[in-house]
Amino acid sequence: MVFAFVRLALVAFVVMTLAYVGISIWSRQVRRRKLKRAWEEEGRPGDRADYVERGLDDYDDSLRRKLILLIYILPVVIVGFIIYLVNFM
């Protein structure tokens, strides 16, 4: 029981961490690309690197970035729900 549970937890943790890191990097890149485009559309105000850096700082504090944490939360909630559904309902 303990061994099977630990095995599942470890595998799930590794997979979720890979997904979390991957999606974090991808999302930051998307944000960076959008900021560069926005900088050009706004008539190139000031230095482009500064503009992008400031935008990414805003992104770091945003809810959108914290939503990526759902990668860890959702599977655990789903498994808990299945356990309740199959065994206790």
Binding site: M1, F3, A4, F5, R7, L8, V79, I82, I83, V86, N87, F88
Partner: protein
């Protein structure tokens, strides 16, 4: 070559279909005639049996397994095994095997006075290798004439189809952008080369 490609894809999709057909839950409308347990020595069919109940010693050669005997609506027999899936595959997280056996035993009925039951299960019944679907839940029905819509399976298969579609679209786009231009280049230079060679042959012929 084209037929080989088709055959490979057919085998691939057959395997996918078999995987889903085995793993996804299905509901049968049955009448439970009896429940029993029996010692099972697992042989070459062991992949179709679960591991020992969660918490019990694992790696034993044989153990007692619960079974649920039933008669389906169409009069044909169906026997389910009743085993924990625990934390393993498939991810049903079933730990209540003994409770389920109690419920199933409580719903036993005779053909004279049938009590219809919807049995949720996964897996296959195959007489030739002695495998049984694993019952996951039982629910008493008032009458056998109910339509059970497999919403869960519909959602899972739709998500799977969406993922396949997304991969396919991206692959086609990738091929159009990266591989097709290269192949055209190769073909162009091949045509050029052939022109030169046949030109050379032509000049050689003229000499003669």
């Amino acid at each position: 070559m084209r037929y080989v490609k088709w055959a490979l894809w057919a085998v691939f999709w057959l395997l996918i279909a078999a995987f889903f057909h085995y793993t996804l839950p299905q509901r049968d409308i049955v009448r439970i005639t009896d429940t029993f347990e029996r010692r099972v020595d697992f042989g070459e069919n062991s992949i179709f049996w679960a591991k020992a109940d969660t918490g019990n010693a694992s790696g034993t050669v044989n153990r007692d397994v619960f079974f649920i005997q039933s008669i389906r609506e169409n009069g044909r027999p169906m026997v389910y095994r009743n085993e924990d899936t625990g934390w393993g595959w498939p991810p049903y997280f079933k730990f209540d095997t003994n409770n389920l056996q109690t419920e199933a035993a409580d719903l036993r009925s005779t053909s004279a006075d049938p009590q219809w039951v919807a049995v949720t299960h996964y897996g296959w019944r195959n007489e030739f290798i002695s495998i049984f679907p694993n019952a996951v839940g039982v629910r008493a029905l008032d009458s056998p004439d109910v339509t059970l819509i497999p919403w869960f399976n519909i959602i899972i298969l739709l998500i799977f189809a969406a993922i396949c579609w997304a991969i396919r679209v991206r692959w086609i786009r990738f091929r159009e952008r990266r591989i097709d231009p290269v192949m055209e280049n190769v073909e162009d230079s091949w045509d050029d080369g052939r022109g030169r060679v046949s030109g050379w042959f032509a000049s050689w012929r003229k000499k003669k």
